[in-house]
């Protein structure tokens, strides 16, 4: 076969330079912006490169579909500022807290609940670490189980819709955000169940590492659950609105923001300070995310010009790999990259190259989106750059990083099981979106 060596070299060099810059602590967005601009200037000249720099970042950040991202982040921050996360934890504790390992299971339940209003894994992990960490330690849970359950529970934030990662995948591949949100629902629920099973199995092997909490009287349990019902109502409104085509993803995020504000108003929690804190935190996140979006826009311009995605597709076709073989190769690449770079950067760097490959292999892009997000989750809890590990370490200062990582191993095993389930039964992802399309 005739491989386009030039595109392989150019594209490969571009990726290697971005990785090298990231290793030198250069922000991900700036690394991509720099390589994209310089690479394009070398291929096409300085003036065309300046033209690209003048419109590509604007085009990318002003995409209507992407505006859902800061709105969902705002929704999560509003809920966080108003202590809704504490209510979620209390409710989860009321349901499963009295079982062996109940506090760890409550953490998983609360993370899943918080994931319904917050699309960020790091925010979920950070919020839960502050609450669940000290509580589990007080009840004699081992550092490994306590930190591992929080770090892994945090990853539910990016799989349970609304998820910022899914929005980014939709933006990069021009897939429907709604379809991706529905496709993520069942895998998200499977993750919750498997994580809880992992806790029980872990405690079966190491019975001294965790106990059970006090069983709450029925009225207290009902009251704790009642407090979080509005969160479920907001989630149901968002998802049913999307399902019925009542509003778009961006509109659902705006509706979510206003509903959370309404909820806070009704609870008497809404203050100017709370609004300010939530928007201030959102802007901080938005600034760093949009810098990556702008950088990726210019970098992807370069990657398209080099023709690398097409060469990779040609090469994969030449190798005649089965779809399963392709997925395994992608999985291995993600696991290696996950140990080296942030999950967001990984998605921005790899999807433009992998997407044409999976489409050419006849793999469903919605299914692949969920698969990619789950594999990317590994990176969040893998050393040396697993962001969730550092977040937990930042809050639970006495717990060594190694212990946090050790604690995530049982959950990583369940993630492998989940991936195997998705590979064996793609309908776990595709059934709900297919119902939506049949509407």
């Amino acid at each position: 076969m005739d491989l386009d060596i030039e595109s392989l070299i150019n594209g490969g060099l571009a990726f290697a330079t971005v990785l090298a810059l990231m290793a030198l602590n250069v922000p991900v967005g700036i690394s991509m912006l720099f390589v994209g601009f310089v690479g394009f200037a070398l291929i096409s000249g300085f003036d065309p490169a300046i033209v690209v720099l003048g419109f590509a970042p604007y085009e990318s950040v002003s995409k209507y579909s992407l505006s859902v991202m800061p709105l969902f982040v705002l929704m999560g921050n509003l809920a966080n500022s108003a202590n809704l996360s504490k209510n979620l934890y209390d409710a989860a504790y009321a349901i499963v807290g009295h079982y062996k390992g109940g506090l760890a299971m409550s953490t998983i339940g609360a993370c899943a609940g918080f994931g319904m209003i917050c699309g960020s894994s790091i925010a979920t992990a950070a919020t839960m670490a502050q609450m669940a960490g000290p509580e589990m330690k007080r009840h004699g849970y081992s550092d490994a189980l306590a930190s591992g359950s929080i770090a892994s529970g945090g990853t539910l934030g990016i799989i349970i819709p609304p998820s910022v990662m899914l929005v980014i995948y939709a933006y990069l591949t021009e897939q429907s955000i709604q379809a991706l949100f529905f496709a993520a629902l069942i895998p998200g629920l499977i993750a919750v169940v498997l994580y809880m099973i992992a806790i029980r199995v872990y405690l079966y092997i190491y019975p001294d590492e965790g106990g059970s909490g006090k069983k709450m009287p029925l009225d207290e349990r009902v009251s704790a659950i009642k407090k979080v019902l509005p969160v479920f109502v907001i989630f149901a409104i968002i998802m049913s609105g999307l399902y019925l085509g009542f509003f778009t993803a961006t509109e659902s995020a705006a509706v979510g923001v206003m509903l959370v504000i309404l909820l806070l108003m009704l609870r008497g929690d809404l203050t100017i300070k709370l609004l300010k804190d939530a928007t201030w935190a959102t802007i901080r996140t938005a600034g760093s995310l949009y810098l990556i979006v702008a950088g990726a826009a210019v970098f992807n311009f370069l990657i398209t010009v080099t023709g690398l995605p097409f060469t990779v597709v040609e090469y994969i076709n030449f190798l005649d790999l089965s779809p399963l073989g392709i997925m395994l190769v992608i999985c291995i690449i993600y696991l290696i990259l996950g140990a080296l770079m942030d999950s967001l950067a990984m998605l921005f760097l790899t999807i433009p190259v992998f997407y044409p490959v999976i489409v050419s292999a006849g793999i469903d892009p919605i299914w692949f989106g969920i698969f990619a997000i789950i594999v990317v989750e590994f990176g969040l809890v893998s050393p040396p750059v697993g962001m969730n590990l550092f977040v937990i370490k930042g809050v639970m200062k006495d717990t060594p990083l190694k212990t946090v990582w050790f604690g995530t191993i049982p959950f990583l095993i369940t993630d492998v099981i989940r991936i195997a389930l998705l590979l064996a039964f793609p309908a776990l992802c595709l059934y709900l979106p297919s119902l939506m399309y049949s509407q």
Binding site: V28, G29, S62, Y64, S67, L71, A254, R284, M341
Partner: protein, 163 residues
């Protein structure tokens, strides 16, 4: 000087906060108007698109000021002074050059939009004022980068003095 720069950066973030919040309100009323009053807000999508670009580029200065970037930090444990300084200066130069170039390129786009009078389709809003504003936001980012660098150098110095 430090206070003035901090105020400019904060002001830029406040603009981003207000625009983001207004966009959420506008989108909500658009949905509400369309579904319940049969009267959507005209041009919501165009306003949201332009508004989000404002949010993005006016939020960036604070990201640079606080060094709140997404970056791989696995070399942070290397505490060789010359290497630390090299990394700091390298990062600074790359960020400064790229954001200055981005500001310059956006300014050129703004000039070109001003000349050809390009506007949005529905509301016929001219693009050029927004592009000038974005270029201004990027200029604030450049100032924030310079300030971040000076602050980092002085922090490093006092850190080393303390050792």
């Amino acid at each position: 000087m430090q206070n003035i720069i901090k105020k400019i950066v904060d002001l830029s973030a406040i603009v981003a906060c207000i625009v983001l919040f207004l966009l959420a309100v506008l989108t909500f009323f658009d949905v509400f108007g369309r579904r319940f009053l049969n009267s959507p807000v005209t041009g919501t999508i165009e306003i949201v698109q332009i508004g989000m670009a404002m949010v993005a580029f006016f939020a960036m200065p604070r990201t640079f000021y606080l060094n709140a970037h997404v970056s791989a930090d696995f070399i942070n444990n290397i505490s060789i002074r010359k290497f630390e300084i090299f990394i700091l200066v390298f990062r600074f130069l790359l960020m400064l050059i790229m954001m200055s170039l981005l500001a310059y390129a956006t300014l050129l786009s703004a000039n070109s939009f001003f000349q050809d009078g390009r506007s949005t389709i529905e509301l016929e809003l001219y693009f050029y004022p927004f592009f000038y504003l974005i270029a201004f936001g990027l200029l604030i980012s450049v100032i924030a980068i310079i300030f971040w660098f000076l602050k980092s150098i002085s922090e490093k110095k006092s850190e080393w003095r303390a050792l």
